[in-house]
Amino acid sequence: MKRAEKLEEFAGGMKAMAPLTVAVMPIGLVFGAVAASKGLSSLEVLLMSALVFAGGSQFVAMDIWKHPASWGALAFSALLVNIRHVLMSASIGTKMPAFSGPAKYAAMLLLADEIWAMAELRAERTRLTPAWYAGLAIPFYCVWVLASLAGSIVGALLGDPNVVGLDFAFPAVFTVLVMGFWKGRETGAVLAASALAAVLAHQLLPGAWYIAAGAAAGVVATLLTGRRREVCA
């Protein structure tokens, strides 16, 4: 691929991601503010957003944060919240024939939910290239890190994001993306099983088991409906 084509692909990814890159700004600000209120310095907030780069697990970590920080409990919680990434990287990994081996692993380091979902949508429609993925991931990453840093500095001035509904931006983004994966009745079975299992696990179990439970239930549902169709045919 020529340099100009690469640039065009990079710009394409950046453009596709732009709404989410804007939407992650307030979330990053809120994260930084919450972390500062838990006693983390701006440098520590910056390091956490830059090295962990997984919003869900960072917010959960702030929920259970104590001084001095207990690395074992925090690592286990991050593992649990992010266990869905195993499924996500397995799924997107089969759609990256344009990536070299090392490029694939490098891409996985930035596999946040939003980046992964947009990459999956792209792979459904056309060939996913490293340049397009970089355009998707790198600006989003930079905004997340800088917004959390800014939040840790100006945190107290922000007020409550729930009042204006901004905390709903990401559930809303995910709702739109779910609709993009709709392929008929079979998707309905996957969604229903996932929603039911996630809600049950959310009510009954502590922490973030509900995401793993919902994902597993959705996969089981698709395998069961597939088997039934084979029997009927």
Partner: protein, 101 residues
């Protein structure tokens, strides 16, 4: 700008756990042969994971969140991403104000 030793250790441990989950899938598909059954399972993962993430917010948080999720889903069938998300955020804000939560 201070950097507490325990905090730094915790951040590195969280990062290591997260990286592990992100590369594990790639390693997994190198060792598991992808037949039709595995392909079906892999294809179900994106909607299943996304649904699981939003289900508690959409279904058991409150009427404002449920209404806003439905509004976003309907809007998504005919509007671009940013417009649908804006509608969702607007509906949740109005809904919360209406139910006083």
């Amino acid at each position: 700008m201070t950097l507490d030793q325990n905090t730094f250790l915790a951040i590195v441990a969280m990062a290591a756990a997260t990286v592990l989950t992100r590369v594990a899938g790639l390693v997994l598909i190198r060792f598991v042969a992808i037949g039709p059954q595995q392909k079906r399972a892999l294809e179900a993962i994106p909607p299943a994971v996304l649904m699981a993430v939003i289900a508690p917010t959409a279904l058991v948080t409150g009427p404002a969140e449920t209404l806003a999720t439905v509004a976003t889903a309907i809007a998504a069938t005919r509007l671009p991403l940013l417009a649908a998300v804006s509608i969702g955020v607007f509906v949740v804000a109005v809904g919360r104000a209406a139910v006083g939560a």
